[in-house]
Symmetry: C2
Amino acid sequence: MPDVDTAARAAAEAFETTRSATDAERAAWLVAIADRLDAAVDELVPLADEETALGETRLRGEVARTTGQLRMFAAVVTDGAYLEATIDHAVPDATPPKPDLRRMLRPTGPVAVFSASNFPFAFSVAGGDTASALAVGSPVVVKAHPGHPRLSRRTAELVTEALAAVGAPAGAFTLVDGFDAGLELVDHPAITAVAFTGSLAGGRALHDRAAARPAPIPFFGELGSINPVVVTADADAARGADLATGLAGSFQLGAGQFCTKPGVVFVPAGSALEAALPALVGADTPRMLTPSIADGFQTGSERVEAVPGVELLAGGPGSPAVAVTDVATLRSHADALLAEVFGPFALLVRYGSRAELAEALDDLEGSLTATLHAAPGEPVDDLLPRLEDIAGRVLFAGWPTGVAVTWSQHHGGPWPATTSQHTSVGATAVRRFLRPIVYQDAPDAVLPPALRESNPLGIPRRVDGTLRAG
Amino acid sequence: MPDVDTAARAAAEAFETTRSATDAERAAWLVAIADRLDAAVDELVPLADEETALGETRLRGEVARTTGQLRMFAAVVTDGAYLEATIDHAVPDATPPKPDLRRMLRPTGPVAVFSASNFPFAFSVAGGDTASALAVGSPVVVKAHPGHPRLSRRTAELVTEALAAVGAPAGAFTLVDGFDAGLELVDHPAITAVAFTGSLAGGRALHDRAAARPAPIPFFGELGSINPVVVTADADAARGADLATGLAGSFQLGAGQFCTKPGVVFVPAGSALEAALPALVGADTPRMLTPSIADGFQTGSERVEAVPGVELLAGGPGSPAVAVTDVATLRSHADALLAEVFGPFALLVRYGSRAELAEALDDLEGSLTATLHAAPGEPVDDLLPRLEDIAGRVLFAGWPTGVAVTWSQHHGGPWPATTSQHTSVGATAVRRFLRPIVYQDAPDAVLPPALRESNPLGIPRRVDGTLRAG
C-alpha cells in the first residue's frame, strides 16, 4: 500500500480529472465497482466471515446493500438535483443593478474515509462514504479497519480494477493502512473532509484533529448511540410479549454490533415486555468483531450492572444480557447508564407515570434513532417532540436495526450520534463533499453544462426563483 | 441587556414554540421586522452614521438590503423547497422489506450570531444570520459589535417590538453585549450553532472554542479574503484604463472595509491598468470603523510595503494606497503578501507570462471571490479551474464589492474565507440551522404537514425518487 503522502498527492492530482468528469461518467464508475463486487461475492463473503464472524447470510445481504448503495448514488448524480443548480438572470435596471448569477455545487476535493469494524462492506472500503464522494467527483483515500485487513485489501483491488477498466483516473481511490496513517491523513493539506464511522473516543480525537489543522476541514462522524425505545403502557398492554420478541431480535442481532442497536428501553413498571424478555435472551457467548470490542462489551456491561439500583434481568458476563432499573436511578447515574454499550446488551428502564417518562427523555443525549411503540391512535404529543429533539430517525413501528437505503433515508442525530447536519446514508450523503460556487456574468460557453442557459443536461433547476423539475 | 445564560435559556424555551410555528407564521415574523426597520430608517441611518461614518447613501442602501433580505428569507420558507421533503413509500415485498420513510429538515435550536463591524445592518443585529435562523425556527441570541453599540440596541428594540406585535415568543430574539459574553455564548449548552462575520484571528478563536465543547457545534464563519483579480494581457490591452477606474472604485469603496474588497490584482508587466491607477487613488485619510481596524490597516499596509521587492505605487501611510510587486516576490513572501489588509489598500502583482500567472494562482488560499477580466472569447481554461479552486464566487465582469442578494447568491469560499459548505448570504443560508429527521412508518396524523400524504402545504417534494415541483 502507498504511504499517506503519496496517496493524498495522487488524489489531488486525480481531482483535476474527477472534478470535470460528467455525472454520467462518474455514475458509470460506481456501477462498474458495484458490478465487480457483485461478481466477486462468492470470494468476498467467506473472506469477510473469516475476519468478522458475521455469518454468510448477513454478509451476503451486506454485499447487496453495498452494491445497491453504489447504484443509488449513480442514480442520484444522474438525476442532477443534487447540484442545486440555481440561476438568477441579470436585472440591469434594479438599484443597484443585479448581475447574472448562477450557483451550483462542486466537489470539495480529496476525502479521507475511515472504514468501520461492524460493516465490512457497507461502511468500509467500498461503502457509502466512498460511493458518495466518488459520485460527486471527490477522490477518496480510505483508511482500512484493522478488524478485516485482508478483506479490505481484496476489496480495494477490485475497486481499483473496476475504476481502471472504465477510465477513472489513478489516484481517485487509494487504500492506506495503520493507526498513524489515519492521523497523517487527517492532517494532510490535500484532504478536504473526513468521513468516519466508529467509536466516540476515536471519533472525538479525529474531530479535534480536523478542527485544529492550520486550515480546518469538516469532520463527518458517526460516533455512538443508545437508540432509546419508548413503550407506552397501552402498547405494552396490547402487545408486550410481541414487543419483547422484537426487542430480543434487534438488540442481539449481529451480536449487538450495530450503531442502531436499541440500548435503552423505557417500559411501564410491571410490563408484559419485561416478563417475556428473559426467555428470549441467548446463552451463547458471541464472537465479537475484535478483541477490543469484546473488552468494551465486557467493561460496558459491568459498568452498568455495578450501579446501585440496577439488576441483571437475564444473561450474564460476556454473553447477551438485559439489565433493569428505574427512572430515578437512570437520572442520578446518567453518565454510567446512558453511555453506549456496543454488543448484545440492553437496559430496561421502568417508569411509573407518563410524566416521569417524559422527564426522563429530557435527559437523553443525541442518538441515531428513537423508537416509539404506542397504541393505534394514542396521543403522543408529550413524547414525540422529545424524541425528535434527540434523534435523526424516529420510528413508529419495528426496530431500529435495519437501515433501508433510499432517497429519504439518512443516518445521524445530535452529538454524540453524529457531528453534522449531513449524514452518511441516503441520497444527501453526497452533500458532505460539495461546496457552492456562484458564477457572476459568466459567458455561457465557459459555464459548467449544469448552468448553461439551454439546460443541456435536463436537470432540475431553480430559475429566477421558480423551481423547475427538469 | 440580559446575561448570556438568561438569554440562552429563554431561546431554548422559545424553541418549543418556534420549532412548531408554521412557515407562514415565521415568514410573517420576518416581514414584520422588515416593515419596522423600513419605517425607522430616518432614525436608524443617522445613528449608524454617527457610529460608523459609512455615510448616508451607503447606509440607506444597506437598510434596504437588510429588509430585502428579511423578505427574501420569508419567501424562501414560504416556498418550502428548503425543507428537502422526501418521501419513500413502503415496499413490503422487497428483501428485506422497506418501511415508509419520510425525511425533512427541522431547526437545530438556538443560534449564536456575532455581528460584524462593517455592515451595521446587513451583517448585524437584524442581518442575514438572524433572518435565516428565525426563518426556519431557530431562535437567535445576537452578540452586539462594539463598533456600533447604540445602533445595535436600537435595532434590537425594534426587532423585539416587531416580533412581539405579531406573536412570536419572547426569547426568540435577544441581544447580548461584551467580549466575555461572546465566549460564554459559544460555550452555552443550549446553543446549537454559531454564525460569525469578522476577523481571521477572532473567528479562529471562536471556531476552536465551538469545536472544543463537550458537545461540539458547527461554527459558520466568514473570516478573511484577499479576493484576487486576474487581468489578462488581452483585457489590459483592450480596456486597461477602464479597468483601473473600476478597480480604484472597488478597493476604495467604503474605505476598503468590505470582505469582498479586491486586495491582490494580477496584471501583465507594463500594463495600462498600472499606468492609469495612481491618478485614481484618493489622498484623504479615511475614517475607519474602529480604532483597531485603523491600526490593522496601518500595520497591514506597512507589512506589505516592508517586503523587499515591493514598491509603493500610489498613496501613503494611513490613506488609500496601492503597492506593486512581481510574481517571484509574491511567491517567496506569501505569508506577508497574501494576508488580508482590511482597508483601502491593493497590491498589484506583475506577471511576465501566462504560465507564470497560472503558477502564482496555485499559491493562493481560499477567498470569497475571484475576478477574471479577459477579452471576449479569449480561452481561459488555464485560469478558470484555478479560480474555481480558491473561491466561492467567480466573476467575469465587474468587481467583487457589491453582493446581490438573490436565490443563487452565496458568500463563502475555502478557508480562510469561510469555514463551511454553507454560507451566510442567499437562499441556502437557512441550511446552516437545519438538520434532517426521518420518520419511519409514522401515522399520517402525527407527521409534520410537510410530510403528510396529501401534501397540504403544496410544497416541492421528492416522492419515490421523483422530484415534484409542488
